[in-house]
């Protein structure tokens, strides 16, 4: 029997496919490449920081390297990571549909992604940008590096994000299988719905901001540069008006995956379905109102106070989700397989990320911690410990479905522990040096911080080894002959009712849904 991988052959049948599953796989390969590039940059950065003196890089090269790391990880990896790969593949399948609402648009968004990525990579060759991924003015309008190239790349990538969002919203509205009411949708779908809303509404603001930045750089029109009458703080407002909601573009789908994994591996119905669904939407709305907390040290006192208050509000729905997941584990039948280990890792790290967010939300405390390594550690706990962990969890969870092959559970556990220990070693120590006063984006530092930096760098090596192990066993699994079962975990959502890997037309008969996604049974006493 042919499946979507063996259906057609040749590179062109992939590059111009309209199949959401193939597009998802192409995204998966692309973002892996982006992750490898960004991760490689991170390892070099950490290596340079072993000593306050020069080891490999000059100060300028260091600045280019951290910009590369940040820009690639944010725009090429983490924003598209879950929606474009696992979302593309499993959103239609979880709804019982054979594709997204606009397959051609879906392919277009992938091609646009590639084009944007091309510009970003070209900028590395044409004089790598040294502004940081935030492109703050007036530094970004005055540096002699290839800012226009990089900004054009990010501008283009934005359209890919918007089109994916539009596609998902339409798919969720119109392609649900008969009987799948809104409150029978898997929660991963709910989270992608909330994410898509943010993508569609916030990304244009980033695009406008970047166009203004380009106009300023090319024609010297004073929008942001004070030397010609502009206001640099205005740029910060514009930039974060997108980039704060973007944080939720990154974390909401991650939370969505966590619902799928915790229910399946505990064989439990989710605790508080409605609360989780609504809190996704609540987070999406409030996320537009908290951008000012990135500007506590530059904006007015009144604005800072308002944004501090709103920031605390957005913490509540996230907290509720954590409580719901813990409650879901109660009295379950718990299987500690790799996807669930990543779920537990997510909980551990995301909660630390969340609590340290409380420090940063408190006005006075943020003044001290702003732009120190404390912030660096905080957002790595949320982005890496949160989003990436959930992505890894989802990838291990759906791997047998996507490829019809099972990876080695033993190797997966080894990689998990390497990454978990390496991650905490790399980043926990950064909380301490940050609150002790170590500023971020520093090429050199005062000598007393060296020991903290060294611990952090050794941790980054463990992380690197962990990911190499993962790459090895994933590739091995693809080469193995053994067929994975259609439903290895005993999950109940629709994608597990079809063969692994799915056929080109996934559902030969449109499924009819008559119950919720997580209605597991109870052990008879």
């Amino acid at each position: 029997m042919k499946n979507f991988i063996t259906e057609k052959k040749g590179i062109l049948s992939w590059l111009f496919t309209l199949d959401h599953k193939r597009i998802g796989i192409m995204y998966l390969v692309s973002i892996f490449a982006a992750f490898a590039l960004g991760g490689f940059a991170a390892l070099i950065l950490r290596f340079e920081l072993l000593s306050p003196d020069k080891i490999l890089l000059t100060a300028k090269q260091y600045n280019q390297m951290f910009t590369l790391h940040g820009a690639v990880m944010v725009f090429l990896f983490i924003v598209p990571s879950i929606p474009a790969t696992l979302g593309n593949f499993f959103l239609p399948l979880q709804l019982g549909a054979n594709d997204v609402a606009f397959p051609r648009l879906n392919l277009a968004s992938y091609h646009i992604y590639l084009l944007g990525a091309l510009f970003c990579v070209a900028s590395i060759i044409l004089g790598s940008v040294d502004t940081g991924w935030t492109f703050y003015t007036p530094y970004s309008t005055s540096t002699d590096t290839a800012v226009i190239m990089m900004v054009t790349g990010v501008f283009i990538l934005g359209f890919s994000s918007i089109l994916t969002g539009v596609n998902f919203i339409s798919t969720i509205h119109y392609l649900r299988a008969p009987g799948m009411t809104w409150f029978r949708m898997p929660l991963f779908v709910w989270s992608l719905y909330a994410t898509s809303i943010i993508q569609v509404l916030a990304t244009p603001v980033l695009a406008i901001t970047l166009v203004l930045l380009m106009i300023e750089r090319v024609w010297g029109i004073g929008i942001f540069d004070p030397a010609i009458g502009g206001d640099p703080v205005l740029f910060q407002h514009f930039f974060w008006f997108y980039s704060h909601p973007a944080v939720y573009i990154m974390i909401l789908p991650a939370m969505g995956i966590m619902n799928e994994v915790v229910t399946t591996f505990c064989r439990k119905n989710i605790f508080g379905y409605a609360a989780i669904a609504y809190s996704s939407i609540a987070i999406a709305i409030i996320s537009f109102l908290v951008w000012g907390h990135h500007l506590f040290t530059s904006e007015s006192e009144v604005a800072a106070t308002i944004f501090s208050f709103l920031t605390f509000l957005v913490a509540i729905p996230s907290g509720i989700k954590v409580f719901n997941w813990i409650a879901t584990m109660y009295k379950g039948s718990i299987d500690l397989k790799a996807p669930f280990l990543y779920f537990l890792g997510f909980m551990f790290l995301f909660v630390i990320g969340g609590f340290t967010g409380i420090f940063l939300g408190a006005l006075a405390i943020d003044i001290h911690l702003h732009d120190t390594y404390f912030v660096v550690a905080h957002f790595h706990y949320v982005m890496f410990g949160g989003t990436l962990y959930a992505f890894l969890s989802g990838m291990h969870y759906w791997w047998p479905k996507m490829f019809g092959r099972m990876y080695s559970e033993f190797m997966a556990k080894i990689a998990f522990w390497l990454i978990f220990i390496g991650f905490n070693m790399t980043f926990f120590v950064q909380f301490i040096m940050g609150s002790k006063g170590m500023p971020r984006r520093y090429y050199s530092y005062i000598e007393e911080f060296q020991i903290y930096h060294q611990i952090s760098t050794v941790g980054s090596w463990l992380l690197g080894v962990g990911f190499i192990v993962m790459l090895v066993y994933l590739i091995q699994s693809l080469r193995s002959k053994e067929q994975a079962p259609d439903n290895p975990w005993g999950a109940l959502t629709l994608e597990w009712t079809i063969p692994s890997p799915p056929q080109y037309h996934a559902f030969e008969k449109t499924p009819v849904v008559d119950k919720g996604p997580y209605e597991f049974g109870v052990e008879k006493p």
């Binding site: 100060a59 605790f271 109660y330 520093y442």
Partner: protein
Amino acid sequence: MNNIQSLTKKGSFYLPENISANLGQFDILFYVIFWLSVILFVGLLIFGFFFIISGKRQQDDQLAKKQITHNVKLEVIWTVIPTLIVIIIFFWGFKEYLIMRTTAPNALEIYVSGKKWFWEFTYPNGKKAIDELVVPVNQPIKLIMSSTDVLHSFYLPNLRVKRDVIPNRYTVMSFESAKLGNYNIFCTEYCGDQHSNMKAILKVVDSDDYTSFLNEVDFDESIPLSEAGANIYVKKGCNACHSVDGSNMIGPTWKGLYNKNREFADGTYAKADEVYLKESILYPQRKIVKGYQNVMPSYQGLLVDKEIDAIIEYIKELSK
């Protein structure tokens, strides 16, 4: 530099030594949030571990012991209590923030200018100092700050205060130190190649020392001119961008510079004589040596003629 107080060895586990006289309960609030987080985190861990151990799957077909889809009482509790906690933390943080941002009416005003890549301080009597902020102990200080190029941020870890320094705009930061000694000042807003070297020292002294600092003659007449130039090289921050050993930094090295032929970005040439050197110190943007960026700020008003003479003599000395 002259023994700066350690950030890591002094103070509590997470925070550097607190030398502020007016900070209120900053450190207390920090540790209240810390311990609240630890308690809640450990609580969640205990629940998590207990659920895993008691629910670990023994057989493949084992189902859950119970299915619970919601519990209104529990959900209200875990929504309301965290909301109350964060509202309390919000108000507390806000209160400390107001204290931080309030300037005493008798504050001593010092102008701060951030430039790539040094800090310039101007005192009420017109005295200027570079990378050295000298303030009297137990005296409220008001810094009136501005940048001449890109964004910078002025950070005093031991006083827990920080404020962005923005071109074309004044920002104000105030503090009061209760302890004598030398402390770190960092730039915390990324500003380019030498961002991490844009350091300065906060010197908290008693009022007599402060007065003598204000009236101190900057220029030491008792030593040879070239030696005075060597001191100015360090004191006025020239060393951030110019080397004296021939190595290449942001700007051209001073070694062997005197009387050398210089080629400029616009294709013209000049000999590095006294006239050229003085012009490059006062109007650095006029002649940009080929291969370098136009980033040096003007030293007009920062150096008196005698100091410029001393620097030129020092460069000559380095070219012998």
